[in-house]
C-alpha cells in the first residue's frame, strides 16, 4: 500500500541520516560501543521493516551490512577507516535502493558486498551464514535510457553531472560512407542517461525516397558526469559527414534555487527553430507559444515535442536532485499544532458571525458599523496570529543542515588529500524551512571553496607553523530580524594581488583602478571569476561565487567576505528570518503603489523646501542637521502624471547607509505577502518583488539595499 511504503521511506530516511552521522563519529571514536550498537540497530530496523513493507532488495542488501556491524560490536573485528568507507557506501546504496524509482543495477551493490565480505570471511567460522545471493533481474529493454531519475543515482556523482543537448544532423551521404547511427547512440548511452528524439519531418514519401540517404536528424539529451570533450569524442569518426552541436543545458555545479527550466520559446530559439522576431510576434498572441508556432507552420509538431520533452526532462532532473538533497517533511512540536487548531477554531467562529451579519443584511436588517468593525478587528488579530503560528511551524533548526556538512567535509578532505575538521555552533538557530533548503547549495559551495582553495595541504601548513589539520567553523546566530551565518576557515586567506591581477585580466577592472582590500575581495562575486589555476572537479570553474551571491540575494540576504593572508577567510551571510510576509509601508507615486519593508523605515515626514540645502542640483537633503542622499521616486520610475502639491518623504536605512525617498504620499501600513517577480522583470534592480493589494491591484516592493547603494554611490 502506498501509505505504508511512504511511512517506511520516511523512517528509513531518518535512520540513514542517523547512520551517516554516527559513522562519522565512529571514525573519531572507533571503540565506542554505544555508537556501534546504535548503527547496528539502525541497519537492523531498516532490514526488518524493509522486508515487512516490501523492500526485499533493501532487506537482502542490508542483511550483510548488519552482520558486519554485529561482528564489530562483538569485537570480532575492529573498526578502521576502510570499514567506515564501505559502510558509508552501503548507506548511500541503501538510499538509492529505497528512493530511486528505477531499478538499480545489481553491480553497484555487489561490489560493496564483496568488500564487506572481505572483512567478514577471515573471521566467520560458519561463513555459510552470509548467503551471497545472486539476484539476477532480467535487464529491461534499454534499462538505463531515457530516464532522468537513474541519472541522479550515485549521490556523489550527482554533483558533477550535467545535461547536454546534442543535435546530430548527418549529411545525406552518411549511410553511403558506411557510417551508422545506432552504434553512436549506443556509445552515448554508455556515458549516462539518454533521451533521444528522431526528427523525421524531412523523410519523403515512399515513391520519392532514396533509401540510401539519411533524412533523419536527432536531438539527444544526455545526463552524464563526462566532460563535453568526452561527449564530442563519440562523434569523432563521423565529424566529416555530419553536423554536431553540443550545448550544456543543465549543470549540477551551477547552483539554482528553482528547478524551473527555460521556457519553450527559449528552447526553440536556442535550437534555431525560430528567430527573435518570430518569437515576439507569437508572444503577442496570448496562447501557448508552441501551439501558435505549430499552427502558423513555423514549427513542426516534432520540433515542439522535442522542446517540450526537453523542458520536462531537465525539470525532472533538477527536481530529483533537489529532492535528493532535501527531505520534504519537517518535524513539528505538537503544541504548535495545538495552537494552530485553536486558531482555526476561532476563525471558524468569526466566519459564522460574518455569515450571520450578511444574512441579516440581505434580509433588510441593519448591521451596525461597529459590529462589522468588531469582526474586522478580530479577523486582523486572528490572521496575524495565524501568520505567526504557521511561520513558527516552518521554523526549523539549522542542525540538520550542519550535520550533513560533516560528511561533506570528510569526503572532500579525503579527496583533496587535506586534513580538515569542522566545528559548528548555533545549530539550534531556526530558519524558515524554505530558506534552509535554499541555503544548502550555497553553503556547500562555500565550504567546498574553503577546503579546496583555502585550507592548505598538511605539509604546507606545518611549514608555516600551523597545525596539520585545518579547520572550518560554521556558526549561526540570531540578529534582529535576521540570522547571521559565518563560515570561517584558518587557511591561506584570499590573495588581493591574485584577485586584482585576475580582475584586470578579465577586464572587470582597469589597470589603474584603485580599490580597497574590501572592494577587491568583493570582486570574487563577479561572474566567471575564479583565481584557481586549474579547475578541480570540486570548484574553480568560476561559476561559483557569483551564483552563490545571487542565490543569497534571492533570499533577500547579503553576503560578505573578509580575509587575512595566511590567517584565513570568513564569509558572512545575513539571512532574513522569513521569506514571504513582511510588514510594509504602502506609498503612492501617481497611480502606482509601492511597498517598503517597515523595518527599514527610520522616519517619514512632509517634503518642505527647507529640506533642500542651498543650491539646486544637489542630491542631498539636510534633515535635522544630517546630510542624507535622496532619490525622487517619480524620476526613478519615470512617472509622468501631475505631482500633488504636497509630497512626502521617508528615510530608509540599510546597514549604515541612509537614503531619503521622495514619494507622492505615504498611505500607511500594509501586511504584505511577497510574490516573486516574473523572470522578465528581474533586470529591474530597484524592485525585489510584488504584492497584491486589497483592491486587486499590484504594488511593487522596493529593494532597500539597491536603493541605498544607488544613492550612496551617487549615480
Amino acid at each position: 500500500m502506498a501509505d505504508q511504503a511512504e511511512y517506511y521511506r520516511e523512517e528509513a530516511r531518518e535512520l540513514l541520516e542517523l547512520i551517516e552521522q554516527k559513522l562519522i563519529d565512529l571514525e573519531a571514536q572507533p571503540e565506542d560501543e554505544e555508537l556501534l550498537n546504535a548503527i547496528f540497530r539502525a541497519f537492523h530496523t531498516i532490514k526488518g521493516s524493509g522486508s515487512m513493507f516490501g523492500f526485499e532488495k533493501v532487506a537482502e542488501f542490508t542483511h550483510e551490512i548488519e552482520t558486519l556491524f554485529d561482528y564489530l560490536r562483538e569485537k570480532r573485528i575492529s573498526t578502521n577507516k576502510e570499514i567506515i568507507d564501505v559502510a558509508l557506501a552501503a548507506k548511500d546504496h541503501i538510499f538509492d535502493l529505497i528512493f530511486s524509482e528505477e531499478p538499480i543495477e545489481d553491480e553497484a551493490g555487489e561490489k560493496i558486498l564483496e568488500r564487506v565480505r572481505g572483512y567478514l570471511s577471515p573471521v566467520a567460522e560458519s561463513s555459510s551464514d552470509t548467503t551471497s545471493k545472486s539476484t539476477s533481474t532480467s535487464p529491461k529493454r534499454s534499462d538505463k535510457t531515457q530516464d532522468p531519475e537513474a541519472a541522479t543515482e550515485a549521490a556523489s556523482e550527482s554533483k558533477n553531472e550535467r545535461t547536454y543537448r546534442i543535435t546530430f544532423s548527418p549529411q545525406r551521404e552518411f549511410f553511403l560512407r558506411g557510417a551508422k547511427v545506432l552504434p553512436l547512440l549506443q556509445e552515448l548511452e554508455e556515458l549516462g542517461t539518454l533521451l533521444v528524439f528522431a526528427h523525421t519531418d524531412e523523410v519523403p514519401a515512399i515513391d520519392s525516397i532514396d533509401p540510401e540517404v539519411c533524412y533523419t536528424k536527432w536531438t539527444i539529451l544526455l545526463t552524464s558526469t563526462k566532460t563535453r570533450n568526452e561527449v564530442q569524442d563519440v562523434f569523432i569518426f563521423v565529424e566529416d559527414y555530419s553536423e554536431v552541436h553540443i550545448d550544456i543545458i543543465d549543470d549540477a555545479a551551477q547552483l539554482d534555487i528553482s528547478s524551473e527550466y527555460k521556457r519553450i520559446g527559449e528552447i526553440l530559439y536556442e535550437q534555431g527553430y525560430v528567430d527573435q522576431e518570430t518569437i515576439e510576434s507569437i508572444m503577442q498572441q496570448k496562447q501557448l507559444f508552441g501551439e501558435v508556432a505549430v499552427k502558423q507552420g513555423i514549427l513542426s509538431k516534432d520540433a515542439l515535442d522535442s522542446a517540450l520533452s526537453e523542458q520536462q526532462y531537465v525539470r525532472k532532473v533538477r527536481q530529483r536532485r533537489q529532492q535528493q538533497q532535501t527531505g520534504t517533511t519537517i518535524r513539528v512540536k505538537s503544541e504548535k499544532l495545538d495552537s494552530l487548531v485553536d486558531l482555526v477554531g476561532e476563525i471558524v467562529t468569526l466566519q459564522a458571525r460574518l455569515t450571520q451579519y450578511t444574512e441579516s443584511a440581505k434580509d433588510g436588517e441593519e448591521v451596525s458599523a461597529s459590529e462589522l468593525e468588531s469582526v474586522s478587528e478580530n479577523m486582523a488579530r486572528l490572521t496575524a496570529e495565524l501568520r505567526e503560528n504557521t511561520m513558527d511551524i516552518r521554523m526549523v533548526p539549522l542542525a540538520e543542515t550542519f550535520n550533513s556538512f560533516h560528511r561533506l567535509v570528510r569526503d572532500l578532505s579525503s579527496e583533496l588529500k587535506k586534513e580538515v575538521h569542522m566545528e559548528t555552533s548555533g545549530a539550534e538557530t531556526e530558519l524558515d524551512k524554505n530558506v534552509i533548503d535554499a541555503l544548502n547549495d550555497p553553503l556547500v559551495h562555500i565550504i567546498r571553496n574553503s577546503i579546496d582553495h583555502g585550507i592548505e595541504t598538511p605539509e604546507e601548513r606545518t611549514k608555516s607553523g600551523k597545525p596539520r589539520e585545518g579547520s572550518v567553523r560554521i556558526s549561526a546566530e540570531n540578529s534582529g530580524a535576521n540570522v547571521l551565518i559565518t563560515i570561517k576557515d584558518d587557511g591561506r586567506g584570499l590573495s588581493s594581488e591574485k584577485i586584482r591581477s585576475k580582475a584586470i585580466q578579465r577586464g572587470v577592472i582597469s589597470e589603474d583602478a584603485k580599490l580597497s582590500e574590501r572592494e577587491l575581495f568583493s570582486l570574487i562575486f563577479s561572474p566567471g571569476f575564479s583565481t584557481a589555476e586549474t579547475a578541480t572537479s570540486v570548484s574553480g570553474r568560476g561559476v561559483g561565487m557569483d551564483v552563490v551571491k545571487r542565490n543569497i540575494e534571492q533570499l533577500r540576504g547579503k553576503i560578505k567576505v573578509d580575509s587575512e593572508k595566511n590567517i584565513g577567510t570568513t564569509i558572512t551571510l545575513t539571512i532574513p528570518l522569513t521569506l514571504s510576509i513582511i510588514d510594509g509601508l504602502l506609498l503612492s507615486i501617481g497611480k502606482e503603489r509601492y511597498v517598503i519593508n517597515l523595518s527599514a523605515i527610520e522616519e517619514c515626514f512632509e517634503l518642505t523646501p527647507d529640506l533642500f540645502p542651498e543650491g539646486q542640483g544637489n542630491e542631498y537633503l539636510a534633515v535635522r542637521g544630517e546630510v542624507i542622499p535622496y532619490i525622487d521616486l517619480r524620476e526613478l520610475f519615470g512617472e509622468q502624471s501631475e505631482p500633488p502639491k504636497n509630497r512626502e518623504l521617508t528615510v530608509i536605512r540599510a546597514g549604515e547607509s541612509k537614503v531619503a525617498l521622495i514619494v507622492d504620499s505615504i498611505i500607511g501600513q500594509h501586511q504584505t505577502v511577497i510574490k516573486p517577480l516574473n523572470a522578465a522583470l528581474n533586470s529591474i534592480q530597484e524592485v525585489s518583488g510584488s504584492t497584491i493589494l486589497g483592491d486587486g491591484t499590484i504594488a511593487f516592493i522596493l529593494d532597500i539595499n539597491k536603493l541605498t547603494e544607488k544613492a550612496s554611490s551617487g549615480i
Binding site: Q146, F175, V181, Q186, V196, I206, I209, P211, D305, L308
Partner: protein
C-alpha cells in the same frame, strides 16, 4: 535479405527475414512501394529480422507517410516479436518508453508496435 509478400483478400503481409539494413534498402523500398500501390492494408512481419539500422526505420516512416496520404493502413504486426527492431526503435529515438507529453508521434508505426508489444508482454 529475404522479403516475402503474401497477398490476401483484405491485407497484404510482408515478411522481412535477415538483415533489414542499408545494404538491402533498395529492395525493401521497392517492395513497400509496390505493395502500397496495389493494396489498401499492409501488415509487416518483423519476427525474422536479424539486424536492422536507421535506413530501415526511415523506410517504415516513409511508408507510413505515404499510406496516410492515400488513406491506406500500414502497421507492424504486434505478434511478430522482434527484439532487434524494438531496441533499434527505442535507441534511435523513434519511440520512447515514457511519453513526455507529446500527443501525436511522428513515428506512430513504430510507437504503436512498441506499445502493443510491451503491453502484450506485460499481460503475459
Amino acid at each position: 535479405m529475404d522479403i516475402r509478400i503474401e497477398e490476401n483478400e483484405e491485407t497484404t503481409h510482408i515478411s522481412f527475414l535477415g538483415n533489414a539494413t542499408v545494404e538491402g534498402a533498395m529492395e525493401i523500398r521497392d517492395a513497400l512501394m509496390e505493395t502500397l500501390q496495389k493494396s489498401n492494408s499492409i501488415v509487416l512481419d518483423a519476427a525474422g529480422i536479424k539486424k536492422t539500422d536507421v535506413s530501415f526505420l526511415q523506410l517504415l516512416i516513409s511508408a507510413e507517410k505515404t499510406a496516410q496520404e492515400s488513406d491506406k493502413s500500414i502497421e507492424i504486426d504486434p505478434s511478430s516479436y522482434s527484439e532487434v527492431l524494438m531496441k533499434a526503435a527505442v535507441q534511435g529515438g523513434f519511440c520512447r518508453e515514457e511519453e513526455y507529453e507529446s500527443s501525436s508521434s511522428m513515428h506512430s508505426i513504430l510507437t504503436t508496435y512498441y506499445t502493443k508489444v510491451t503491453r502484450g508482454a506485460e499481460n503475459g
